[in-house]
């Protein structure tokens, strides 16, 4: 991070073919290539269109409830006895997570492209709910692909999606989690590509999705930056966010990439521990490979077969990670750490007890990293942690984990 020219160059990625350094790209079957090129073109147009930006801002404000607070967690700060901890309260967004930022943006785009049917994959169900929500709002037909294992552990979100008028397609192939839901969504898209819009929920998948989802989620970082500057007259020392596919982390990090003094920490799911082999830490435990349309770090065996993953947080239970995060890690801009199931559950309880906020299990991974980081910093330093979602959906999982019958 020696010179600012280097930092500015980070913000220019991806290139025209969607490459972030060696990562990203478009590794899809030929049938989908024209659709991706069409999408890239349509997005390129709305990105510069003031009327689209106005419309997007309007719905973020009036419908999703932005801006979200940047909340100084005083009691947590006292408890940990180090840097001041700010929570970016994405859990207060409509539908309970940051996912709505992206689904609003893409639904508006789908509408402009004249697509009447929307499909999406979901793990924890948050992206599925956020997609079903915007589909209801804009009168679009909606089908959500969800792995059978996730359907079972996220029953509440399945019911929400159905209430919102979406059809939930249970995926029984492979590991029956997020990656298989994405396989099935891609199979549907390749079949109905002429009429269907595939609304990807993470900064993963083929170009232009990683770039587009990042852009739509960047409202998180832009707000946080402005809010902390207004409050403290300075930028944070650390940004911390959990990383599954990576949409909440890229949304927070991207507007700060050129700010030299701001360190960034991505927190991956260590599941039962990185050495157990039962985790979902793609960057810390994976190797470069190609899945779901892009090149990135990937949990796989020696022969290139994708490994089954595990995390207590369904939204992190994915063997890949967004290509831009792989790139930022190689360039040394984002540092990656991990938190286990146990650490995440402990962090969830701590935040509930000292701040009266129950985070999603995904976001609890970021809080767990802050629990380790904050005491090592000085009191005049500041950490912004992305509280990407609320924990209501996880109550049965957490209850079971703690041995409590609900």
């Amino acid at each position: 991070m020696k010179n600012s020219k280097h930092l500015f160059s980070l913000r220019r990625a991806p290139d025209k073919q969607g490459h972030f350094g060696i990562y990203g790209g478009r590794y899809v079957s030929e049938t989908l290539m024209p659709a991706l090129i069409e999408l890239e073109k349509a997005y390129g147009e709305v990105r510069r269109d003031p009327s689209f930006r106005r419309e997007f801002r309007h719905y973020l404000h009036e419908y999703a409830g932005r801006e979200t607070p940047l909340y100084l967690a005083e009691r947590l700060t006292q408890r940990l006895g180090g840097a001041r901890i700010y929570l970016k309260r994405e859990d207060l967004c409509h539908t309970g997570a940051h996912k709505i930022n992206n689904t609003l943006g893409q639904a508006l785009l789908a509408r402009r492209m004249g697509k009447r049917r929307i499909i999406a994959e979901t793990g924890a169900g948050q992206h599925g709910v956020a997609t079903a929500t915007v589909a209801a709002r804009f009168g679009l037909v909606c089908e959500i692909f969800m792995g059978k294992e996730d359907v079972e552990r996220q029953a509440l979100n399945v019911f929400r999606m159905k209430l919102l008028g979406a059809k939930v397609r249970v995926v029984e192939s492979g590991s029956q989690t997020l990656k298989d839901a994405m396989n099935e969504a891609l199979r549907d898209w390749v079949t109905y590509v002429r009429t269907t819009y595939y609304l990807i929920g993470s900064v993963a998948g083929p170009h232009p999705y990683p770039m587009m989802v990042r852009d739509f989620q960047s409202v998180i970082g832009r707000e946080a930056r402005r809010q902390l500057l207004a409050r403290e007259g300075r930028l944070p020392d650390y940004l911390v966010a959990c990383v599954g596919g990576g949409s909440n982390s890229m949304g927070l990090f991207y507007p700060f990439l050129k700010d030299k003094g701001v360190k960034m920490v991505g927190v991956e799911a260590a599941g039962l521990g990185l050495r157990s082999g039962r985790h979902a830490a793609s960057i810390l435990g994976g190797k470069v490979g190609v899945l779901h349309g892009s090149k990135s770090y990937l949990l796989q065996d020696r022969l290139g077969q994708i490994r089954h993953t595990h995390s207590i947080a369904a939204g992190l239970d994915y063997p890949g990670v967004g290509p831009e995060l792989s790139y930022l890690r190689d360039r040394g801009r984002v540092r990656f750490v991990s938190a286990t199931d146990r650490e995440a559950a402990d962090a969830l309880q701590m935040l509930a007890e000292v701040e009266g906020i129950i985070p999603a299990l995904e976001s609890a991974h970021a809080v767990a990293a802050v629990v380790r980081l904050a005491p090592r910093l000085r009191r005049n330093q500041a950490i912004v942690v992305n509280l990407s979602g609320r924990g209501d959906k996880d109550m049965s999982t957490v209850g079971e984990y703690l041995g409590v019958k609900l």
Binding site: Q17, G25, R26, Y27, V28, S29, E30, T31, L32, M33, P34, A35, S173, G174, K179, D180, N183, L186, R187, V190, T191, Y192, V193, R194, K287, G289, V290, L291, H292, G293, L298, Q300, R302, L303, G304, Q305, I306
Partner: protein, 275 residues
Amino acid sequence: MNRIDEKFSALRGQGEKALIPFVTAGDPDLDTTFEVLRVLERSGADLIELGVPFSDPMADGPTIQRASERALQKGTSLPRILRMVREFRRHSEIPLILFGYYNPFFRYGLSHFTKEATEAGIDGILCVDLPPEESGELKAWTDARGLDIIFLLAPTSDVGRIRLVARQGRGFVYYVSVTGVTGARNRFEDRLHTQVARVRRYTSLPVGVGFGISTPGQAAWIASFADAAVVGSALIEVMERASNKREKVSRAGQFVARLKRAMNRVGKKAIGSRH
């Protein structure tokens, strides 16, 4: 001239169209695949596509998904497949195409993979999730080793993309008959023959059609306007219905013989109508 070019040129001379059966390597095990390859050749296959199983076959329908799962459960891997091919090559000169997803090839190391594939007797590589835009690295190696890199075109491909594949592709062009995943179908787009004719305007490579072809009648219809018909899922389903390995092999042979007979009936008639 490699085996693929030679085969297409020989068939053209005889007024025949190519039948290209697809089987997933290692389904249900590699010994059986070895026997299946031999019987396919004896029964009239002109080229063979050998599927390399992948854990996440996004472009495939349920049949090939099941075949891939069975193969992976048996520990089928790229090195073992190439070992089997090497053995098969001692008995046969039929053109062999590896058909798979990019990641297993990529992880193997493209230099290493293309070298071993060539030495084993593979003639072409088709990566279903590798469009020309991303194929630079693999193509540099396949060109260097004399392997054909085969690309797909689809009903959604515009003229720009047809030109791109015509420029970059080798061996033949694989035209995907329908928008969708692999698997048997009852209906095709009526305009399929005009779509194939459109592809021909931009390339002198042979054009094969695949995805969904499951009956002798459909294969014969494809043969009336395309240079090759690829039959995958239907063949796998024929083998699935057999109760033991010997029966799988013999039924695969019978099915392919029926396909080839039907294609030959129209193929010979259609010769000369190409240009």
